[in-house]
């Protein structure tokens, strides 16, 4: 029920804003209504973190209600560590993006805040959906408000950017829908006529990874490709990234924050939630290609970012680079990579969200985002300088702040797959320092010689408050990330084990995983020491035993399906 409440409560806010004239409320109340709604939403999402049982497998706060029975479509929602963290991030960034718009948005306020709340419904719905069709619906719901946020309240080329964003993403989601249908029909065939879009049920009949479905490739291979396009556009992975700089540059601050902070996570999340569990063999097969794209994104994004003259565009390209880190981590297909990738999703939401807020603050004052229009602001705006510095350092992975935790863990994951790939990814960290510090230097340092900048005012309390939660979280994750690692542990482990189990042979060939176990028997920290992530009893069991000993999402045993399933997975299972 909690999750259902979280999904639909923002709509209450939308309704309230819509009914404002009926009650004779002035339109200036819209922002307060929206803040109130998002604030309650955030408060109600906190129990997710507190009440989340890090040790339990499977999904929590699950709700399952039949929706369109003829197609087996269900309203099935629930969270694991991964989605729980992202839901809270969404609630937080939604509140911040509403709060940061108080001074910037002066036209059509009611619509603006209504769209933001509608967007929140879509995002949270997408993160908690366990039914593919439901997921698709929320995925599309997110599109429309974002389109209007850019198209109505955006910059000079807002229409171009909005339409590009809309059509590009729509194109991806159409292919994604085809992919989903492929999986759906396959299940129907394999189960003897049962219809379902339920993720957990679908996992019982993995798509065939052998055979010739089309052009010599298997069904799974093609399904992965179709989903990949949809997700990769959303991430965005190079070369599908060009909508992002346009959208960011044109979007209002709130739009940029949500876009960078949450919407970009949707693609990476979908890879983890759907592609890896449903299509594990194809994931292994595609991993080198996706890894390559990710590494290209890291380097390419960084290099292109370096030469931008517009602050927002620079940060947009840095997002491409950072999201490259996330996808690279995910497609390392091992524990460190996936855990790091997930943490980096959160980190990127915090640091890039903060950076867009920071650019927004200066844009409201000067109505320009061109780097060349600034310089020497440090002397005029010391508080702004400090917060900008912290956000910059978080973005370039300074230890002690959040970015480092994610980047290091990801590198650890990639390194186990390939030392060369890890080295390439690590190059991105040098470049990150170069372009971000150069940006900081050009904006904040040097003589303050532009007359327009002489009278700039430092941040007021509201502006500090919009940034404060992000800064606090940056330090928290940087200094004490253990709780986060722990909450993510079960879902990460489940995903890894699932992929690992799908095809031991090709997994080992990809991740160098056997080599690793033999080398670090003596110090394998996991399970050895007090407070470790593993349950104590499983520590004694060898790694391969643990694979089958671990419950990978509580699979329902319906009829005789289970036996067929274990037969099709082949070996290893003994239930």
């Amino acid at each position: 029920m909690l999750l259902t409440f979280l999904i639909f409560f923002p709509l209450v806010g939308v309704a309230a804003i819509a009914l404002m004239p009926t009650f004779g409320l002035d339109k200036s109340y819209a922002k307060w209504l929206a803040t109130l709604t998002a604030g309650i939403e955030l408060l109600c999402s906190v129990p997710l973190w507190i009440g989340f049982d890090a040790g339990a497998t499977g999904f929590q706060w699950e709700t399952k209600v039949a929706w369109i029975e003829s197609f087996g479509i269900e309203y099935h929602i629930g969270v694991d560590g991964l989605s729980m963290v992202l839901v809270i991030l969404t609630a937080l960034l939604s509140l911040i993006s509403i709060y940061c718009s108080f001074s910037g948005i002066t036209e059509r306020e009611r619509e603006f805040y209504a769209f933001l709340l509608l967007l929140e419904t879509g995002m949270i719905g997408a993160f908690v959906s366990l039914d593919l069709f439901l997921f698709y619906v929320f995925w599309e719901v997110m599109l429309v408000p974002m389109y209007f946020l850019i198209g109505v309240w955006g910059g000079e080329q807002k229409l171009y950017a909005a339409i590009k964003f809309f059509l590009y993403t729509l194109f991806g989601s159409v292919l994604m829908l085809i992919g989903i249908l492929l999986i759906y029909f396959h299940y129907k065939e394999a189960s003897g006529g049962l219809s379902t879009f339920d993720l957990v049920k679908l996992m019982q009949f993995p798509l065939s990874a052998q055979g010739d479905f089309f052009l010599g490739k298997s069904t799974q291979w093609w399904a992965f490709l179709l989903l990949f396009v949809g997700f990769a556009i959303k991430v965005p992975m190079v070369p599908f990234h060009t909508w992002l700089p346009d959208a960011h540059v044109q979007a209002p601050t709130a739009g940029s924050v949500i876009l960078a902070g949450v919407l970009l996570k949707m693609g990476a999340y979908a890879f983890l939630r759907f592609s890896l569990p449903l299509l594990p063999e194809a994931s292994i097969a595609w991993a080198p290609f996706l890894m390559t794209l990710s590494l290209v994104a890291i380097i390419y994004g960084a290099l292109v970012a370096m030469m931008q003259s517009d602050m927002k565009k620079l940060i947009a390209y840095s997002s491409v680079s950072h999201m490259g880190f996330v996808t690279a981590g995910i497609f390392a297909l091992n524990y460190e990579g996936i855990a790091g990738g997930t943490i980096q999703m959160v980190n990127h939401g915090l640091s890039t969200g903060a950076l867009f807020l920071i650019v927004g603050l200066i844009y409201e004052r000067r109505h320009t985002k061109a780097i060349a229009d600034f310089g020497g602001l440090s002397a005029k705006m010391p508080v702004y300088a400090m917060l900008f510095l912290i956000a910059t350092l978080s973005s370039i992975g300074m230890p002690g702040l959040n970015g480092f935790i994610g980047e290091f863990t990801i590198l650890l994951g990639i390194f186990q797959v390939s030392k060369v790939w890890a080295a390439i990814a690590a190059l991105g960290i040098i470049m990150g320092a170069a372009y971000m510090l150069w940006l900081y230097q050009r904006v904040m340092f040097g003589p303050c010689d532009k007359p327009e900048n002489q009278a700039l005012k430092d941040l007021d309390l509201r502006e500090i408050l919009t940034l404060a939660p992000l800064i606090v979280l940056m330090f928290w994750i940087g200094l004490y990330p253990k709780p986060l690692f722990e909450k993510l542990d079960t879902s990460t482990r489940a995903t890894v084990e699932w992929v690992r189990k799908a095809n031991e042979a090709s997994y080992g060939a990809y991740t160098n995983y056997k080599h690793r176990t033999s080398l670090q028997q003596s110090h394998g920290v996991a399970g050895k020491e007090e407070g470790s992530l593993l349950a104590p009893e499983s520590a004694a069991v060898s790694r391969s035993d643990r694979v089958s000993g671990q419950v990978v999402w509580s699979l329902p045993r319906e009829g005789g399906d289970w036996d067929r399933h274990s037969a099709s997975v082949g070996g290893g299972e003994s239930r």
Binding site: L170, V238, I429, L437, Q441, R516, G531
Partner: protein, 745 residues
């Protein structure tokens, strides 16, 4: 060996952190309210914090000395508040460790750090952003202490990046000046290049050992010898250990300013002078040396890495000394001198004399901090004199505008003279003992890591060091003054708050070496520092020797034989322990005593020669100097211009990256985005053909100007009404083609 839990270790780190945060926040709040920050309050907080850290550190070292030792005499205190990072592969706690090695470092950092805090009170008086300076300085102390106390690779890396950040902030302290901001960024980015290597090294350690804990890793080096000595690329290529250690060393090159990553350090002199003294001479730049010493068991496994370390060190020291001989900016000379001395420390590491490296690190911290603070006094005094006489043109750092200042700045001169003699290696000052030990270890027969060539270059550099330091002394303090008359009389000695730290450091530069007098010279209390450090190195050596099969493997793999000797009958405290434990034993027979003594004479001789030569050339015979300069011609120009390395880097790496970025940005816009737009246009064209409507929305979108919101809504509706089908088909085809291309590539 149990690690003694000793919670006050946290205080050592926390005091500076609290100082930094409270000064930073107080300052910001005051600045917002438009109230001036009281310098008294700021300095009280900062000095209190650093002095408290020093006190607790001293207490810690005393507690360490009195802690129970294991059978090898190893003592350690540690404090582990919580677990930081956990994954399947590794678990990294926040763990502070005080062992003999970090004890030496902690005392240097907090001791010298506190003195420089005191000095800064006077030096920074009246500066705008006074609070910012002290907040950064405390933050630096915090990071540096994390670096030396961190009990695992990752915590060391936290401190490592932290000191880099503070260095960036303090170099760019005068951020309104472009060159300062640029120098700060350069320092950070060049350091990041080094960090890249360091990070790769850490990843190697994590994946091989499954832990990043120093003690566990170093103790199990022996167990993992087989894995460490496998070639990286199947059956050929460098061994894993060589790549691992060299990656770590790349980090050290960056932080400790070695070839080819030394270029940031001279530019770093753009920061305030006390910062140059603390960060860019005494402490931070020695972090690389500390790290290599800390990882010495790993380095010892790879003769290749040891040789690389030694040769990079000796070449850096030579090149930097050459440049230092030609510079005219007083701080630049000292900066290159620092680079050169750091090279010495790496020579020590490379020849296996890790204790000597730490010894030189310590004495260098004393005399170089003294020299920098002394030069700060000179600059400060000159600056004020110029200010008084209304001279805004002359550069207060240019030695060509100085000379004869001893009469105006007698105390500064005294301190400067002592420190100069110390760095020049004149007995019995501190630099003499430490430098001499390095040279002896490089030369020492029976030390397989040493070589005559390294000794020879090191010996020549010792002479050059004496030369450029006395050149500096002569140009600044001696001879007839080149300062204008009215300015000269405005040069005044500085207040005692600033002189006192300088003089304390001068005393330390004189006496600092006496804790480690070599046995050939000493009577009763010789080599105390080595005795203190010895269990540290001994601990990991025993572990290595204990693993017999490891040694066998090692020998069959053609590894260093010296490690094999360790497991032999020689007891840890057996013959030759006065040589540093990590250097393979050679007897200390009569012949070697003679050799060592004669080497000492050699070193002293070349030091005196350099000194006399500099004095003669710069004070008595400037015409000879001119002659030499003109004879050297082009070579001299090349050296004065620092071998044009900066220009070379600028032209290749910096411009190259920028060009690449620029071209990629164009490519992104024209090709990738062009393709997307092209597909869109093609779609519109198709739509026009098929629908024959007036649906040119993409065109208008591309043109993008003056579109009304109403129209956008209209367009959206039309898309949903189905006229976009053709669009999607074409777009799908286009992107599909794109994917196929990428798959095939």
């Amino acid at each position: 060996m149990e690690f003694q839990n000793w919670w006050p270790l946290a205080l050592v780190v926390l005091f500076p952190a609290i100082g930094a945060v409270s000064n930073g926040l107080l300052g910001l709040v005051n600045q917002r309210r438009g109230k001036p920050n009281k310098e008294m309050v700021v300095s009280a907080i900062a000095l209190g914090a650093s002095f408290a850290a020093f006190l607790v550190a001293t207490w810690g070292v005393l507690a360490l000395v009195n802690a129970p030792a294991d059978e090898a005499g190893y003592r350690v205190l540690s404090y582990e508040p919580y677990t930081w990072i956990v994954s399947e592969l590794i678990k990294v706690p926040i763990k502070l460790v005080l062992d003999p090695l970090s004890a030496v470092m902690v005392l240097v950092v907090t001791g010298v750090g506190f003195l420089i805090h005191v000095y800064s009170v006077g030096y920074m008086h009246g500066e705008e952003g006074y609070y910012r300076y002290f907040a950064y300085l405390n933050l630096f102390m915090f990071s540096m202490l994390i670096l030396v106390l961190g009990g695992n690779f990752l915590l060391l890396f936290v401190g490592w990046e932290g000191v880099g950040l503070c260095s960036y902030l303090l170099i760019g302290y005068y951020f309104t000046k472009d060159f300062a901001a640029t120098a700060g960024k350069k320092a950070f980015v060049v350091n990041r290049v080094g960090d890249f290597g360091f990070l790769i090294g850490i990843l190697f350690v994590a994946t091989i050992f499954g832990t990043l804990d120093f003690d566990t890793v170093l103790k199990s080096v022996g167990e993992h010898q087989a894995a460490l000595l496998t070639p990286l690329l199947g059956s050929w290529g460098p061994t894993v250990i060589t790549v691992l250690t060299l990656s770590l060393f790349v980090g050290a090159m960056g932080k400790s300013a070695q070839i080819p990553l030394y270029v940031w350090l001279p530019d770093a002199m753009a920061g305030p002078t006390p910062v140059s003294a603390l960060i860019h001479a005494a402490t931070m730049v020695t972090a690389g040396v500390y790290m290599v010493v800390r990882c010495s068991p790993l380095f010892l496994l790879s003769p290749t890495s040891m040789a690389v370390v030694a040769w990079i060190g000796v070449l850096t020291s030579l090149m930097a000394a050459l440049i230092a001989m030609t510079q005219t900016d007083i701080k630049k000379v000292l900066a290159y001198s620092t680079v050169s001395q750091l090279g010495y420390m790496f020579v020590a590491c490379g020849v296996g004399a890790f204790g000597a490296a730490i010894f030189h690190l310590m004495t260098h911290a004393f005399f170089k901090a003294c020299l920098f603070l002394g030069s700060g006094c000179v600059i400060h005094a000159m600056h004020h004199a110029y200010h008084h006489t209304g001279d805004g043109e002359s550069d207060p750092q240019d030695m060509r505008n100085m000379g004869g200042l001893w009469a105006r700045l007698p105390w500064t001169f005294l301190a400067f003279l002592l420190a100069t003699m110390a760095i020049a290696g004149l007995p019995p000052l501190s630099g003499f003992f430490s430098k001499d030990e390095i040279l002896w270890k490089a030369f020492m027969p029976g030390n397989e890591y040493g070589s005559f060539a390294i000794w020879l270059i090191g010996w020549v550099v010792a002479g050059m060091t004496a030369f450029y330091m006395f050149r500096l002394l002569a140009m600044t303090f001696l001879g007839t003054t080149r300062v204008k008359r009215e300015t000269f009389h405005q040069v005044h000695e500085l207040p005692w708050t600033m002189l006192a730290p300088v003089l304390v450091l001068a005393v330390l530069s004189v006496a600092g070496g006496w804790i480690n007098i070599p046995q050939v010279l000493g009577s009763e209390s010789t080599e105390r520092l080595h005795h203190f450090l010895e269990p540290q190195f001994e601990r990991y050596r025993l572990e290595m020797g204990a693993s017999d099969h490891g040694v066998a493997e090692l020998e069959s793999a053609g590894g260093p034989v010296g490690l094999g000797e360790v497991s032999g009958d020689r007891s840890p405290r057996g013959a030759g322990h006065e040589l540093l434990a990590t250097v393979p034993a050679g007897g200390h027979g009569e012949l070697e005593v003679k050799q060592e003594l004669s080497l000492i004479w050699f070193s002293v001789a070349i030091g005196v020669m350099g000194m006399v030569l500099a004095g003669w050339l710069y004070l008595k015979a400037p015409e000879v100097l001119e002659l030499i300069r003109s004879r050297l011609g082009r070579f001299y120009d090349v050296v004065v211009n620092k071998f044009y390395v900066d220009e070379f880097y600028e032209a290749t790496f910096v411009d190259g990256t920028k060009k690449l970025g620029e071209n990629l940005a164009k490519f992104d816009l024209a090709r990738i985005d062009g393709l997307v737009n092209g597909v869109a246009k093609a779609t519109v064209w198709t739509s026009k053909k098929s629908v024959r409507g007036d649906l040119n929305f993409i065109d208008s979108a591309v043109n993008g100007v003056g579109e009304s919101i109403m129209r956008a809504g209209l367009v959206l509706r039309r898309i949903q009404m189905g006229s976009a089908q053709g669009y999607i088909v074409v777009m799908a085809a286009g992107l599909f083609a794109l994917i196929v291309v990428f798959v095939l590539l």
